[in-house]
């Protein structure tokens, strides 16, 4: 019997009740959220439950929503069940003041660098990570560049004398 998005949703609700929420399907992929405190429990359940078996971690990344007060940073996990060929998107949100999220490195070796990258760009503090330091940026950097508080330069600005690039 093949697994469907509805069955995944039912199983999650049966296990976690109203702690998992915001179920939605867009472009065929089921997405849902939970409080960040139970992220490992949810990932472990998705991994261990034989009928779900989301044993392949496709991707971890973060998103910064500056207007969501208290939930400005969102960590997104993309999981894949290779046998049934079904993917889910799972996200937990955290505030800028307390960016602690439990690490998934115990479950997936691949999470190691993905979490380091996420820390590097967004400053998510993955609690329990074996080696949480910057990976793509220089170690001396003291800010998290992919947060929305660092906008890219406005291309229409006129206060710059920059003849070399045709803006003089």
């Amino acid at each position: 019997m093949s697994l469907s998005n509805e069955m995944v949703q039912e199983k999650l609700i049966a296990k976690f009740g109203d702690q998992v929420s915001q179920f939605a399907t867009s472009y065929g992929m089921l997405s849902f959220e939970s409080p960040k405190e139970i992220n490992l429990k949810v990932l472990q359940f998705l991994y261990d439950e034989p009928s779900l078996a989301f044993t392949f971690l496709t991707d971890i990344c973060a998103v910064n929503y500056p207007n969501q007060k208290g939930a400005e940073l969102v960590v997104v996990y993309h999981l894949h069940n290779l046998k049934e060929n079904i993917r889910v998107r799972y996200s937990v949100s955290t505030s800028l003041e307390n960016t602690d999220v439990f690490t998934a490195t115990k479950l997936f070796e691949s999470a190691n660098w993905m979490e380091r990258e996420t820390y590097d760009f967004f400053g998510i503090n993955f609690v329990g990570h074996p080696n949480l330091k910057r990976i793509l940026n220089v170690d001396e950097m003291d800010y998290f560049p992919l947060r929305k508080e660092f906008p890219l330069e406005d291309q229409t600005r006129i206060d710059k004398d920059d003849e070399m690039f045709g803006r003089g």
Binding site: E109, S110, L146, L152
Partner: protein, 407 residues
């Protein structure tokens, strides 16, 4: 009398291992990679990698660009097979905007993507040959990569960073020269690949250098997030082209080659077998393209005025075309709200695009799932306990591309 002794660091006399630095630029790394290894004689005890030397903040740059300006960024990820990245990005945009592409466009794209896969695998496998001491194969097959690049050039005007295709299709129809060159490639390349295989596959030196080195089990490979030929060499038949077909891959017959041990030799064999499959896919696609008759045979893009630039003569003579031209170039098209994750089978694994739009004109966030960034973290485990010279072969057989790794 005063003696000037050299002061050695604490414990350096008793230490039995040597710390060896390889990279960031070193002839054996084929890219900007640094490895600091602890070696006992020639055996590797442990190693530590440094990455990020050519990080260019693509994800940040993409937040300020309209969709069509992001294509050149994707060129610079896996630059050995840029067309796959370009097509992957176009396919992501099309899925997101719910644009339906004509079948002929899909088939033309398949031809280009499979050519790119061949050129990617060709480089990787011939470099594995170079690192085991056989330079001839590498120099020989370069001619055919050149022919592939000439086909790109005929279609889009550039060779390495191609920026090929547009959202909705191609910027122009394939010329007859492009098809002639493709026919030349299809005629000549199989013989060359056969020769290339007979140089290596049963070569005693090559087999002894690659068998049993850099191996990984299927479980570990999956846990490490391996995808593409590296995962298939470990025995998992996961291929995005089969699991989640895009660009009409479901219309083609091909097999997914798998290995058993996941070592350097199996990775080499899987890539070679995939090149044969690619040739067969290109043949099928070319037949399908030739089967179109009449007006259908001239179709090379979908009808999406919001994203596909109008013809130049129309821009000069028609009001509507002029408006669309300006709106597209100035990036004044509002995107729908939503999120999409769209994967394609890249040269070295599952290349994914995670696009989030908040209804603005540029992506709110764009994340690239770069396959070699994820599987390169297994490298210390792959080389631990092996010889230093095998670590070099393992690195090249993983098909690491610094541009993709560092994004």
């Amino acid at each position: 009398m005063e003696h000037n002794h050299i002061t050695l660091p604490e414990g350096s006399i008793e230490k039995t291992t040597t710390t060896l630095n390889i990279g960031p630029t070193h002839p054996a790394t084929h890219g900007v990679f640094q490895n600091i290894m602890e070696v006992d004689g020639e055996r590797i005890v442990s190693s530590d990698q440094t990455v990020g030397y050519i990080h260019r903040a693509f994800e940040k740059l993409a937040e300020r660009r309209p969709l069509y300006q992001i294509t050149p960024i994707t060129d610079r990820l896996n630059y050995c097979s840029s067309p796959i990245n370009n097509m992957g990005w176009h396919i992501t945009c099309e899925k997101f905007l719910q644009i339906e592409t004509p079948k002929r466009v899909d088939y033309l794209r398949v031809i280009i993507m499979e050519l790119a896969r061949i050129s990617d695998h060709l480089i990787c496998n011939s470099i594995v040959g170079v690192d085991t001491g056989a330079y001839t194969g590498f120099l020989y097959v370069m001619q055919y990569r050149e022919l592939i690049y000439e086909i790109y050039e005929e279609i889009c005007g550039s060779r390495l960073t191609t920026n090929i295709g547009r959202i909705g299709g191609f910027e122009r129809n394939f010329t007859n020269t492009a098809f002639t060159k493709l026919e030349k490639f299809l005629n000549e390349y199989p013989k060359v690949l056969k020769e290339f295989e007979s140089l290596f596959t049963r070569n005693r030196i090559f087999m002894e250098r690659t068998q049993g080195t850099g191996g990984i089990s299927a479980e570990r490979a999956m846990n490490y997030g391996f995808t593409g030929p590296n995962l298939r060499a470990a025995g998992v038949d996961y291929d995005v082209r089969v699991h989640q077909p895009y660009s009409s891959y479901q219309d083609f017959n091909f097999t997914v080659p798998v290995g058993t041990t996941g070592d350097n030799y199996d990775r080499f064999l899987v890539r070679n077998a995939e090149m044969w499959e690619s040739i067969s896919i290109i043949r099928q696609a070319y037949e399908k393209v030739q089967a179109f008759k009449g007006a259908e045979a001239e179709v090379y893009h979908a009808d999406v005025p919001e994203y596909y630039l109008p013809k130049k003569e129309d821009v000069y003579t028609k009001m509507e075309a002029l408006i669309w031209h300006f709106k597209i170039i100035m990036g004044e098209i509002d995107l729908p709200k939503g999120q999409i994750y769209c994967p394609v089978e890249g040269g070295n694994g599952e290349l994914g695009f995670y696009l989030i739009s908040d209804g603005g004109r540029t992506p709110f966030r764009l994340h690239f799932r770069r396959p070699c960034f994820i599987y390169y973290q297994a490298y210390p485990e792959l080389i631990k306990g092996g010889m230093l010279s095998d670590a070099v072969v393992t690195m090249s057989s993983l098909n690491l591309i610094a541009g993709e790794l560092d994004a």
